[in-house]
Each structure stands twice: as structure tokens, then as C-alpha cells.
Subunit: 429 residues, 2 copies
């Protein structure tokens, strides 16, 4: 069905448009943005959305998540990362069924759609269940079957991933598996090499944790016997597009080396704080021209998938870290959550901006709420005051997935209950 969004205030994030256009119409035809302008005329069959006084902007892009970990929300308090993993998470994960993964993923997609996010870059296991859930609710997805050498199972993991890719990578329009490497500290040279070969052969991106905390950075240097962690990347990763999650503990020299590679950094500010990793040197990466996008990480450490919160933390932390209020202007942060994310996922021709010819991935915001009035600088207002709950409508690939805060394909309450039952079932008290 064609859709006409009437009279919105448009933040297109497109380079060749004004940054803010009031009272603008957007016409969606055949899932794509067909026209942007004033007073667009349409036929009677077109669905009209009155967006007077509301903001339209590109759907947000989450470049690092573990979607099935929604059920582990708020199980972390009082634990160190290591204790949390070994004493809580791993024993619970062992008990997860395929059906559990499906519902846990569905909860994450509900969170995403409700907070204006149209795609996540996911890493976990039983990806086929996450794919099923994404397809059922109608969101985009990049996922993988995470590879590492834990239990010496590297070879088997690669085989599983390759099989999954064969089965799924042309089945759904907007769901892709990429090559997920857990991290260099858990994955040895041979397995890394094979992953990279697979990525090159299939022309897929690599998605990997990198230098999340001090210990990991030291472990990589030791395991690969290098002075700089980036040496490992320079040896193996030069011919792939890679999305590196976290990148908290890197030196100025490593940032410089990263800036010369084909990588994007998926910055996860909330999770990095929660796990005591620190604050990534994002301002320095931006100054060096590195493509920085945003991620929430899994809810275990990131608490939730609200990318508006992630934007706020991303904006504020670099001002605080470097004691410079002029760091991270709001518009740059909006880019991180939209077009930079699209670039990281190699989807910049399809999503990340609102432009004629691109896929229609659009969210509508109502800022007529207590914490957003008066509006002031609109970009600041979105970064610092808007929340996921200000999103009224989420359109993905030309389809309305949420309208007036109602997700159309699903009963939220039912999924909340299912997920509560799952965590109660697997909880080891």
C-alpha cells in the first residue's frame, strides 16, 4: 500500500537537503520513498498519515546487539562481568530451547520497533530463531552464528555459520547473516583466517568485539604476540568490511592505524559504563575520520535497546571525558544513529537517510511531551530529551510496523509474559 505522510517536520539526514524542513510531505510507493515536497497529491487508495507538528526522521540503526539476551535484563547488579557470566548467564544459557530464543528475540524486536529502531546487528547462537522472529514482526536484521575457539570448536562453528548462510542469505529481503567472530582473545589465528576467507568469498561483513576492556586488549597482545592490537587487524582484516564493537581500550596510535582501515566502530556507551570498561575515545576516532555508529549491546549489560538513550550517553560522555562542551554536536550524534550505522552495515544505499529512491524506513516522533517543550534546537532536543516512547510510528521497508504506539502484528503482553516465564524457568536460584 502507498503511504503519504502529510505535513511532517523532516530531518532527512541527507547531505543534499536542508537539515530541517517544516511542513513537508513524504510519499511512499512500492516500499520506496517516491517523492518529498509540499502538498503532494495522491489517489484515494493511498493511506494518509497526518504528521502535522511531528518529526519524521530515518529509522535508527543499532550496530551491536545480542537480541536473545533480552530475558537477562537486570540480572547483573552486584556481579563482576566474570562472575555474572560464569555463575549466572552460562548456566542459564545452557537451558535455553529454540522456542525460548524465538520469544526472547521477539521481545527485543518489540523493544526496537517501539523505540524507533529498524535494524540491529546481532551476535548470538540459534540465529535461525532470531531470523524467524524478525521476519514475523517485520524488522530488518543482520545476524550471525558467532565463531570462536572455545572448546576447540572453531572449525565446527564456521561450518555451522556457513550452512546457515547457505540456508538463509537469500531467503528474506532484509535479513542477512554476516561473519561473526566473538573476539581475538577467544579466537585463534587459524579460525580467524578461515572466517576472513569466508567473508571475502561471500562478500560479507565481519562483526567482532574488539578491545572492550583493558584485560581484553592485553589478552589480544599476548595471544597474537603483537605490540599493537591493530597489527592483528592489519594482518588479516584488510580486505573485508569490519564492524568492531566497543573499541574502548585503544591507544592514539591504534586509533590512527584503525583510521586507515575499512572498519566501523560500533560504540556502546551504556554497556561500556555498566561493565566498568570505561569510556571509549570516540572523539579522537571521529577526529581521525573513523566511521562511528552506535550500539546498545545486549540487555544483560546494556539494559535496553532504546537508541535515544544511547544517543544521549554518546553525546554526553565525550564532553565529560575530554572536559569540552563543544564535543559531539547533536546533529553528529544523529548521524551516528542513522547514516553512519547504515555505512557500517553497508546499507547506505538503502537506509540511514530519507531520500527519494531509498527504502522507506521512517519513524515519526511526537515531541509534544513534558520533557521536550519548548523545543529549542531540534537536534539537541531529540538527542537529549526524546525517548523511545516519543516514537509514535515506525515504518520499515515501506510497511507500517507500529502506528500510534501499537505494534500491528503482535500482542506485546503475551510476549512479556512468555519471557518472564522463560527467565523464571532457567533461573538458577
Amino acid at each position: 500500500m502507498d503511504i503519504l505522510i502529510k505535513n511532517c517536520n523532516l530531518i532527512s539526514m541527507a547531505e543534499n537537503r536542508k537539515k530541517y524542513e517544516r511542513d513537508t510531505d513524504i510519499l511512499i510507493q512500492n516500499k520506496k520513498i517516491a517523492k518529498i515536497g509540499k502538498n503532494i497529491e495522491v489517489s484515494n487508495e493511498t493511506k494518509i498519515i497526518d504528521a502535522k507538528g511531528r518529526i519524521c526522521m530515518p529509522g535508527l540503526i543499532n550496530t551491536h546487539a545480542h537480541l536473545s539476551m533480552s530475558i537477562f535484563r537486570e540480572t547483573l547488579d552486584g556481579y563482576t562481568l566474570q562472575d555474572w557470566l560464569t555463575k549466572k548467564i552460562w548456566p542459564m544459557e545452557d537451558k535455553l530451547t529454540r522456542e525460548d530464543i524465538y520469544y526472547a528475540s521477539l521481545l527485543s524486536f518489540i523493544e526496537m520497533v517501539s523505540t524507533g529502531c529498524v535494524i540491529a546487528n546481532d551476535q548470538y547462537f540459534m540465529a535461525e530463531e532470531t531470523i524467524r522472529a524478525a521476519n514475523d514482526i517485520g524488522v530488518r536484521l543482520q545476524t550471525t552464528r558467532t565463531v570462536n575457539d572455545v572448546g576447540n570448536l572453531g572449525e565446527q562453528r564456521i561450518k555451522e555459520l556457513e550452512d546457515l548462510i547457505k540456508e538463509y542469505n537469500n531467503r528474506y529481503e532484509n535479513i542477512t547473516l554476516n561473519i561473526g567472530i566473538h573476539g581475538l582473545y577467544t579466537t585463534g589465528t587459524d579460525t580467524v583466517k578461515k572466517c576472513i576467507e569466508l567473508a571475502k568469498k561471500l562478500d560479507l561483513s565481519v562483526h567482532m568485539h574488539f578491545c572492550e576492556n583493558e584485560k581484553e586488549t592485553e589478552d589480544i597482545k599476548q595471544a597474537y604476540n603483537v605490540v599493537s592490537t591493530v597489527d592483528v587487524l592489519n594482518k588479516y582484516f584488510t580486505e573485508t568490511n569490519s564492524i568492531l564493537a566497543h573499541v574502548v581500550k585503544v591507544s592514539d596510535e591504534e586509533i590512527d592505524a584503525l583510521s586507515k582501515m575499512n572498519i566501523s566502530v560500533a560504540h556502546c556507551p551504556v554497556s561500556n559504563l555498566r561493565l566498568g570498561c570505561g569510556i571509549a575515545p570516540i572523539q579522537k576516532m571521529i577526529d581521525k575520520g573513523i566511521n562511528v555508529s552506535l550500539g546498545t549491546d545486549g540487555q544483560g549489560s546494556g539494559s535496553n535497546l532504546d537508541m535515544f538513550e544511547t544517543m544521549k550517553f554518546a553525546a554526553l560522555l565525550q564532553k565529560g571525558k575530554y572536559e569540552n562542551a563543544k564535543n559531539m554536536e547533536a546533529y553528529e550524534v544523529l548521524k551516528m544513529a542513522t547514516i553512519n550505522g547504515a555505512k557500517a552495515l553497508r546499507l547506505e544505499d538503502k537506509i540511514g537517510t530519507i531520500e527519494v529512491g531509498k527504502d522507506a524506513d521512517i519513524i515519526i516522533l511526537d515531541l509534544n511531551t513534558e520533557t521536550c517543550q519548548p523545543e529549542g534546537n531540534i537536534f539537541s532536543n531529540i538527542v537529549y530529551n526524546a525517548k523511545g516512547s516519543n516514537v509514535t510510528t515506525t515504518i520499515i521497508n515501506g510497511k507500517i510496523v507500529m502506528e500510534n504506539r501499537q505494534i500491528l502484528s503482535i500482542n506485546k503482553q503475551e510476549i512479556f509474559e512468555k519471557c518472564t516465564n522463560i527467565i523464571n524457568k532457567i533461573s538458577t536460584k
Copy 2:
């Protein structure tokens, strides 16, 4: 009217109760908490609130704000603090009328009530208009007429403050003026001494900015010719209760000295980041036993008054700053936003916990939303996932001020429009 809250899940924050009590009733009689327990029976005239599955907790306490600055929301981006003040804020403030201050304050009270906050500790000018607004909407307030020596008007400011105190300090049940000193870098010895004398004479607290950024800390040392900023406090402030806002740039020795004084620190994490001040060493203060409460600062730098956001930042920043995930357990953060705030404002006998005999300042939360399910650890869930918009009902001094997210005494939309008109009027483009 008496109120019975039925079947809530209670987080009372009281030391002598369990931390979390499911399916509990709270009876409010004559504005006070009369009874807490199971299956409380009441007469037909009592208003019943069904809170099954919802959380009841004490109303939140904001210990540092500039409420009339709501209209300056999101005017800061791209400016340094100094440029923002001299080129934007001060020229606009010169144009503010009494009526403008009234509506700007009203907007802040709408924000507070909508996000579960029952009192703010305010500093600005034309306090009588802020008092009028607080009384109209029914929130508690501590405010002042800020004293400093700018323009050599210290003496006059003290006189104005004393007159206001005489006029207002017994007029309304829950509105008090305290002694507001802008800061030691803007206020000289004589004026500070007189303020302290006034505070002692009238038995009022002192509310002052302190060591917000590196420059202020250096300026204090120079102006008062001291090695440690706390020396100034030790010379003049020993016989008062003082609320020090910010306290970002203090040494370990200064923290140690502060811990021996009768002061509370109003931690404003969001504003401190936004202005590039840094991250206050809160964990060290807590370890030394200092009473730390939370504040939003004005919306100019703090963006909004949502204390749930402030809690999240407070919790996460200390984990990140010290790279220790075990810092700041969620329950401790809830204390900062409730009972610690009450202690800072010397109201711990009235508010800050839900206990029989205390005033009924209670908020009800609905966590049955996308980002809060499954619930996990309830204290973590509130700190990391709940937002102001999860508050359904706000009761202040036994009176329902907001119910089912409707503020009862006021038309929000009207105030949003008034405030938009004010900022448009005074804006100097």
C-alpha cells in the same frame, strides 16, 4: 480525602522494612501514611487506587535545579558555557517578566510531577513567581533569592532575600526559602559571612554551587587565598546545614575534609557532562560517608528534570570512571534520589521513605512496558530502564497531583504554548 492504595509492590526505602514487599496496601489519612499492610479495610468514603502489579515508592527529590530555566531548554548546543551565558542567556534573562517566570516555573513543575518528583531545591530570581506556581500545582519547594556580589549588589541581594523569607517562610505548608549563595567565586567574604549569619539566625540551610569545574576551583583558591577550597567552608560554614551543588573538581584531601562537615553534595551528572565539567568523584564521597543526593540542574544544561535519567547517569558514571562494575548498586542510587535528598533538605522526618507517620509523598510506577520486561532485579530495573513516563500517579502531601498520567490542576498544552511564546519573544537571533 483518605486514600487506600491496594496491592502495590512496595519499595519503601525505610530502613526497618523489607526492601521489596509484594501485594501491600498503603492507607493515607489526613495527608499522612496511616497504615501499611495486607488487606487493609476502609470506609466507603476512602478513595481506592488499584495498584496491582505496580510499584509504589517514595516521591523523588531533586536537590539542585533552576526551575525557571525550563524555557532555555536546548539553547546550548555548539556554545561554550561562557559564550552561552554572555551571548544567549543573560541578554534573554534581562527581558523576562514576572509572568514569564511564573509560566516557566509551572512548566518545570509539570515536568517534575510527570516524572515522579515531589520537591526541588531551586535557585534563581523572582522566587515569588516560582512559589506561586508551586502552590498552584501542589508541589513542595525549597527556593531562594540567589545572593552574589556581581555588580557589587551583595548587600542588596541579602536584603531582598531576607524580605522574601519574612513574607513567605510561613505562608505555605511545604514551601520554604533557604539561603542561596551563588558560589564562592562570585561572592566575597563579607557577603558570605552575612549569609551564614542569616542562615544561623533563621535556622535555614545554605544552598551553593561548589567546585563545578576546574576554573571555579582555581578561582575560589585565588579569591580566598587558600590551598584547599574546603578551607573556606571550614572557616565560615561549620554551623550550618549546607547543600553543595556539583562538587566535581575536588581532591581526595578536600573530600576527606568535606566528610567531616555538615554538608550534602547535590550530584548533577547530566549537567556536569553537558558543560564539559567532568565526572564528580562520587564513589569516593560515598566511601567517606558524605550524604550524596541527586539534582538535575536547570534545563539549560541539564536538558530536563527526569530524575530517572539522573539516577541512570549517576549509577553508570561511577562504574565507568573507576572502571569498576560493582560501584553504585542500584538500591544505593535509589537512596540518593529519595532519603538522601530528604536528608540534604532536612526533611527526612517528613519525606524520602514510605513509613507510617510520614507525609504521603508516593509515586506509582507501571513497569509493564517494552524496556522494563522481564523485570529482573527490581531496583536495577527502576534505575536503568524506568523513565519518568513510567510514573502513572504522583501523590504529594496526601494529595493526588497526577493520576493515570493526567495532571489534575492544569492544562499542560496551554503551558507548553505559553513557554514556546516566551522563548520566541526573548530570543535574540
